[in-house]
Symmetry: C2
Subunit: 418 residues, 2 copies
């Protein structure tokens, strides 16, 4: 495996205005081209510190990817700094200049003088076309301290960076050929991270190839198993561990891909021709949003109802006013009536309901984090009581993930095809 580092440039990252999702996206793809990522670095729009960071990374690794700082605003300095480190001149790229001119003509926007700087690149660069914005990227193969290195420059906005990296840069990196790092991701729900670690201790601590590690997010534990080598051999090594993991985790093993929980549910419903709807109170549309973020979800989800007020629960979903008066909006009984109401109203096989107190503060005398989740499926309704610790946002995310997983479990327990 060759070594890579990602340097992201932008004061907005250091000010906490945005998260570095660019580095995340690139890191997810690089191993399949034979590169292991050793560092992410974020520096501000400061020439001296950026120069130092590029030099340090080049001294440690084979490939440096720079993100951000290719735009037309004057604090965008990445391209010039990278050229200087390699001792290269900036050259006007005629084709890019023409593309920029026609882009501005087509979109009816005014081309500012600084836009033209986007058409200058370090000499000898391979230009990476930008289909979703004005700043092209580039790949430079150069020499640093007498050793051949590759530098790739990408624009900062994720909507431009992601397609450019995946479709233009990755094919060039793959051409080089090399051992790869293959990975498999096992999604586990229902048991805490330390317990997963204990169950799989020999796999996680016993070997150097494959390696394995756990991490947890929003109540979902992921086990990653990675093997390096020629593609087929690496995959065979991973499959040996997969057999053991399947056996030991049993029904707590939700998925064996990096598929998200909503993806898993959508595909499961698709395979079994199940339609679904949602009735959300404290998650406020998050479950519907997660499901519809999956391409092809329209085969599965018919509609979703967000009933934030009690009147909406009664008026839209037909929850009995007496149920809310007797048990409260945050109750097992209301969750059940919401799921059944959604299935009836939306005419779906399955309905997911959530009602709870995401906080801040108590509500109806019920603590922050108390959430009832209901799943109606083909005539039967299951309701669970959950207490999630953490902030409002965290409670909502855990509730949504738990609800999606409950729907998955109920479908499988009903004997549908896996």
């Amino acid at each position: 495996m060759k070594k890579a580092e990602i340097i992201s440039v932008g004061t907005e990252l250091l000010m906490g205005q945005v998260a570095n999702t660019d580095a995340q996206f690139i890191s997810g793809l690089l191993p399949s081209a034979g590169y292991a990522v050793y560092y992410h670095i974020v520096v501000g729009d400061n020439k001296e510190r950026l120069t130092e960071a590029i030099r340090q990374s080049l001294s440690r690794c084979d490939l440096v990817i720079l993100t951000g700082g290719l735009g037309p605003t004057e604090d965008d300095i990445t391209k010039k700094t990278a050229a200087e480190v390699f001792g290269l001149e900036m050259k006007l790229h005629e084709k890019t200049k023409e593309n920029l001119e026609s882009y501005f003509r087509d979109t009816g926007r005014v081309m500012t003088p600084s836009n033209i700087s986007q058409a200058y690149f370090p000499e000898g660069s391979v230009i990476l076309e930008n289909e979703f914005g004005t700043a092209p990227g580039c790949l430079i193969r150069g020499s640093f301290d007498g050793i051949g290195k590759t530098v790739i420059l990408l624009p900062g906005p994720p909507s431009e960076l992601c397609p450019m990296f995946e479709n233009k840069a990755m094919p060039l990196l793959r051409e080089e050929g090399s051992d790869v790092l293959a990975s498999k991701f096992f999604t586990v729900m229902g048991i805490p991270e330390a317990e997963v670690e204990r169950i799989l201790t020999d796999i996680i601590h016993g070997k150097t190839n494959p390696t394995a590690a756990t991490y947890v997010k929003d109540g979902t534990v992921t086990v990653r198993v990675s093997a390096s080598g020629q593609k087929e051999e690496a995959e065979r090594l991973i499959e040996e561990d997969a057999l053991v993991i399947r056996e030991r985790l049993g029904k707590n093993l939700v998925s064996e891909t990096s598929q998200s929980v909503p993806e898993i549910l959508v595909r499961l419903c698709e395979r079994n021709g199940i339609t679904l709807s949602t009735a959300e109170s404290c998650t406020g549309g998050m479950i519907a949003e997660m499901i519809t973020s999956v391409p092809g979800a329209s085969n599965v989800i018919k509609s979703g109802i967000v009933t934030y007020s009690n009147d909406a629960k009664i008026g839209l979903l037909g929850v009995g006013r007496k149920i809310i008066d007797d048990f409260g909006a945050v109750s097992k009984e209301t969750a059940k009536a919401m799921a059944e109401g959604a299935a009836r109203l939306c005419k779906t096989d399955l309905a997911i309901s959530v009602t709870g107190n995401a906080g801040p503060g108590t509500m109806e005398g019920k603590p922050q984090g108390l959430v009832y989740i209901g799943v109606y499926f083909k005539g039967r309704t299951v309701v669970t009581e959950n207490l999630f610790k953490g902030s409002r946002d965290h409670v909502r995310r855990r509730a949504a993930n738990t609800a999606l997983n409950l729907a998955r479990t109920v479908i499988l327990e009903n004997g549908e095809e896996k």
Copy 2:
């Protein structure tokens, strides 16, 4: 201003499994305690590289914050490595041991042998209690190359890190007193970044205090103005620029806080006693989710309807079948009927509707990114046609932000209180 760096530890970050939202959160708060953030660094669970990273950061700055690697699993090495760099012994903290024991008793979970390692800290540490998990953090004041430095260790999960950093660590940092970096954020919609840069060129390029910069996300441009100095003086300097920015940006200036677009809309509705509902097709619940993510949204949003299928648009919202047959689901006419249907069904003053093609691919012969947004308000409906470039996720986000801003604009144009 003192200098800070953030080192995040975790192979899951380098594998692209999660984004580094911890560094983002910390970076947003540190300036108000007098620290400017110069670097973010991500390293894997590797002792040698972590040691090197900590040493390099300590040689450059006053404060190093380490995130991740405090959990019970054996790849969690941060605490031991930090102690070694400072030459400190690990000591058992009795109170933490007792807290851990009672936490496991209360939650009925099994305490594994590795959990006890969470009660060991570098000698002399100030313990930062963890209210939402088992791994406490700590603050260490030590000496590196003969110079006093501060190191803070925080757990990786955001639900634990965020409250611990904000409530336990920040007060300790603020006690030290110092000049601060005050910032003000101006949210701009409706004009591209390069144009904002041109309009404000003297403010962005003319000075060193305050400094100003732009960045763009999901179609929203943010202008950040930051001044350093004593709190009052810094704020006065920012206000001078704010006067100019207000004057020049006019109605394109959406907000003068770091408030998100949904927060701005919820507060505007609250002030004017406006109730709202949503009718979403391609955004699939995202708008309702964004609104309900704002604490106190229950005073404003009554309900939300996700009508992903045509049958749902007709059955739930009362969109005429003829409208869909004649103009298609992705049309101005459908958007109008959806907004009006939601207002009628949910009995609200305002209703936001979105129907479009988020992709991938064309739909009804309509291109990816074509989105119609409707806003009904007190008897009048406005519909806009939009073409957003980018991926499915990007189109959905831009559509949601644009819809929320259209609702804001319609309310203000109706003469409601700002």
